[in-house]
Symmetry: C2
Subunit: 116 residues, 2 copies
Amino acid sequence: MAEVISKDLIRGHTDTIVLNILQQGDSYGYQVAKRVRELSQGHYELNEATLYTVFRRLEKNGALTDYWGDETQGSRRKYYHVTTTGQEMLAEKKAAWQFAKPIIDELITGQITEED
Amino acid sequence: MAEVISKDLIRGHTDTIVLNILQQGDSYGYQVAKRVRELSQGHYELNEATLYTVFRRLEKNGALTDYWGDETQGSRRKYYHVTTTGQEMLAEKKAAWQFAKPIIDELITGQITEED
DNA sequence: ACATACTACTATGCGTGTCAAAGTAATTTA
DNA sequence: TAAATTACTTTGACACGCATAGTAGTATGT
């Protein structure tokens, strides 16, 4: 039985996942990674390198801005914030997933999946 | 609204899609491509180069065998046949998708999707 | 005091899958 | 006889995810 999600199944979803988590409040790398582990109940782990690649890509696209936290103790943390552009992007990506899901189902199983 | 499925959303599914179609009967490149277009109602098109890459990969993995059809007219056609290994692979990949789907849902929307 | 583990961020370079583009070749339609 | 369609193939580029390695501060245990 599958216990971990293959990287090719997750591909294309990482941006959406990160945006979705950050939309619920500004956060930083390690916390986002943790949240992913929680949400997936341990079935998916966002690789660190991947995570920071995602951050950089999303910043380049104007979906995120970052700022250093003012921690007086502990390691420095870079916080990421979703911009309006990022919110729109998230909405589009969620819609794209909802759209693609039943089609993939049809292609893979040959059966129609009802829409909500 | 999304009209076409992005390549990164389909990534990792192409092998499964091709296996699923071939499992319903031996077929050849062009026909498989057509079937994909039909099943997705025009929302997804398997690029030719991708399709032949998939065939070659699946053959390398022992999931498919091929043979030339004995057409007395029309272009020559190379038929692909799913092996037992291929059937097992298909079953695994289908299971992996059913497993991953609700987790991706959870990661993207933050809501739990019920299992069947 | 020193080792170990954990938090936190960054850089480099590789493997894989998909695809664009171009090509070959036969058949069918106009 | 030109154009469109069927059918298969090769080459090379690109993006994404990830393995690996590194820097650095903090916390805990002995």
